[in-house]
């Protein structure tokens, strides 16, 4: 059992408030990913849980024990650092043993644990090497190994893959996913890479400027972002946001008049009146080429052909840039104007201050059934 709960946790650096009264529940065996733009407080939050940073306010509990004042070493959490933080003058085995020696564990038990971790991570042949003599991926594994041998209740990862190259990153990402399946531990993972977030998380926490914007499963965030910040942050290329005015309220949702045409969005019109300014959000992958005169008129500026996909970068009437993702054989040329159609159930609607309007049940149907 290892559940972590944050209650109104806050952090001040001098006069600067880095974290604003955050509440968060992490359940046993859950894989929670913290995402957000640089400087939003991801690392700070993680380090407070680890005990590396004092807590300015609120309470952190681990299995219902308040751990605010428990020193880092005693919390039963292990951390994998971005730059690994391996002890450079110790071999891999010594790196792993260090923490166990510090608590006076018997030599045999230490060796047993190292051997076990090494076989789990397939790093047996690295054990006698120093970090200097290892590749980035190997160091990463040793760093994880150092965490594993301590048999922690909670694993903390602070952007553990960001120093690796793209190919290795994918591979290590999958390894961490497998590790999570195998180990009986809770994991809290910081990243700014939203693919990592989407693929690893049971639950994603989107932070912005020290506050939680939204917590949910990857698909919840993708399909029902609570505001334009989350909508823009989750999904790549990011969701197109187009300003418009409410033209009609229909049983299926809201019709919006945009500078380049009218769009129907399957969203609840709660509080809206005709003529109100609103923002329409449409993901590039939900756009398609429609019939002439239909949907949005987009002036094509750049066409990128990626093989099975074609990315179209264009603008609409008021100059807003939009990105459209079409299939690999789409016939589009630079300079032409193409009609872009969007299914009403794929659209999102936001108020001018960015709050999402609830999508209709029709729009959500089937999305979370996987």
């Amino acid at each position: 059992m290892a559940s972590v709960r944050l209650r109104a946790v806050a952090k001040n650096y001098g006069a600067v408030r880095a974290i604003h009264e955050v509440n968060l529940d992490v359940e046993h065996r859950e894989f929670v990913v913290l995402v957000g733009p640089s400087g939003c407080g991801k690392s700070t939050l993680l380090r407070m849980i680890a005990g590396l940073e004092t807590i300015s306010g609120g309470e952190i509990t681990l299995d219902d024990q308040v751990i605010n004042d428990v020193p880092a070493g005693g919390r039963g959490v292990a951390m994998v650092f971005q730059n690994y933080a391996l002890y450079p003058h110790m071999t891999a085995a010594q790196n792993m043993a260090f923490g166990l020696e510090n608590i006076g564990m018997a030599r045999e038990e230490i060796n047993r644990r190292i051997a076990h971790a090494a076989s789990t991570l397939k790093i047996e042949e690295l054990l006698q090497r120093r970090p200097k003599a290892m590749s980035g991926g190997q160091r990463q594994r040793i760093a994880i190994g150092r965490a594993i041998v301590r048999d922690p209740k909670v694993f903390l990862f602070d952007e553990p893959l960001s120093n690796l190259d793209a190919a290795l990153r994918v591979q290590m990402r999958i390894e961490i996913a497998k590790l999570h399946q195998r180990l009986d531990a809770t994991m809290i993972y910081v990243t700014h890479d939203q693919v990592e977030a989407m693929t690893l998380a049971d639950k994603i926490v989107v932070l912005s400027a020290g506050r939680i914007e939204q917590v949910g499963t990857p698909l919840e965030l993708y399909h029902t972002p609570r505001n334009t910040f989350v909508a823009g942050f989750i999904g790549s290329p990011k969701m197109n946001i187009i300003d418009g005015k409410v033209a009609a309220i229909t049983p299926e949702g809201v019709d919006v008049e945009t500078p380049s045409g009218r769009l129907a969005i399957a969203a609840e019109p709660a509080g809206l009146a005709i003529g109100d300014s609103v923002r329409v959000g449409i993901r590039p992958e939900h756009m398609g080429v429609g019939k002439p005169g239909d949907g949005l008129a987009v002036v094509v500026e750049v066409v990128e052909r990626l093989g099975d996909e074609t990315m179209v970068y264009g603008t609409i009437g008021d100059g807003t840039s939009v990105v459209v993702k079409l299939d690999g054989t789409a016939r589009v040329r630079t300079g032409e104007t193409i009609p872009i159609s969007v299914a009403a159930t794929d659209g999102h609607l936001f108020t001018m201050d960015g709050e999402a309007l609830r999508r209709t049940p029709a729009a959500l149907e089937g999305l979370f059934d996987v």
């Binding site: 380090r47 070493g73 002890y87 003058h89 301590r150």
Partner: protein, 288 residues
């Protein structure tokens, strides 16, 4: 073609330095070896080739060996104190606050004073009737010690002066070394339950090994060249107990006029220093 052009421009860039280097370092070094095979006097024109006689004389000269012994003793007393204290200071002052910065500046500032000023200060500090320490002794009801007049205390007094003068540089070297240790290592160690002492012995010290070797080499080389402090503070006394090798070289060459003999001694010094630094480098290499 390209190589030739590069060669010429390299020559143009190097020439100014090479002129100085060859003229004022390489040539004198060679000349020193040449002189050491002569009975070569400072004044007048007397220069007679005597082969290895200066060296034979040197190895049989008790004065010379006394100076070597004093010099080695001095280095053996100074270097460990210097290295140890510098490390302690660096550890204690490794924080980026105003007060720590000010303290660092205090320890470093004496480093920029010249040897004459430093010795002037310390002659006064150590003076048995008017010195600072004497005042302290008297206030404690003790009889002040005439440090520089005592064969027992003169050397330690010079060591103290030297440490006071020179601590800043090794301290900064250690600080630079400390600051290159990633903070995450200490965080990892904290999560690993390491006590402060273990953090020090298992993380800090190993990480400082290179700095250690560097500081030690620089100190050994520097302290073997001790001259000004001795010349000014004790003149080698009392009764030769602090006469250093460089001082002997100076006096042999410039007071006794025997440049040939002095050259032989300075080449001996060169060899000692060369061997000392090579040995330390070798030890450092071994541990890698």
């Amino acid at each position: 073609m390209v190589r030739l052009r590069d060669g010429l421009s390299a020559l143009a860039f190097l020439a100014p330095f090479l002129v100085f280097y060859l003229l004022f370092l390489v040539y004198p070094f060679g000349l020193g070896i040449w002189i050491s095979f002569h009975d070569w006097e400072l004044v007048g024109s007397f220069r007679e080739w005597i082969g290895l006689w200066n060296y034979e004389d040197m190895f049989a000269d008790p004065q010379f060996w006394r100076a070597v012994r004093n010099t080695l003793t001095f280095a053996a007393m100074t270097v460990p104190v210097m290295v140890g204290l510098a490390l302690l200071l660096a550890l204690g002052l490794n924080r980026q606050t105003r007060i720590h910065g000010a303290l660092r500046a205090i320890f470093f500032t004496s480093n920029v004073l010249s040897v004459t000023v430093v010795t002037l200060i310390w002659i006064m500090v150590l003076s048995p009737d008017r010195g600072l320490i004497a005042q302290l002794f008297r206030s404690l009801g003790l009889e002040p010690i005439a440090f520089l007049a005592s064969t027992t205390w003169a050397m330690p007094a010079i060591v103290a002066t030297t440490v006071w003068w020179g601590i800043g540089f090794p301290m900064i070297l250690f600080l630079a070394g400390l600051q290159q240790i990633p903070g995450e290592l200490y965080e990892a160690a904290r999560l690993d339950n390491a006590s402060p002492w273990r953090r020090f012995t298992r993380i800090t010290l190993p990480a400082l090994r290179r700095t250690f070797v560097l500081v030690a080499i620089l100190q050994v080389i520097g302290q073997l060249q001790i001259f000004g402090q001795v010349l000014i503070m004790t003149g080698g006394g009392p009764s030769q107990s602090t006469r250093s090798l460089v001082q002997t070289i100076y006096e042999t060459g410039f007071a006794d006029w025997q440049l040939g003999y002095a050259s032989a001694m300075s080449l001996f010094l060169f060899v000692v220093m060369f061997v000392a630094s090579m040995a330390q480098l070798y030890i450092a290499r071994q541990e890698d």
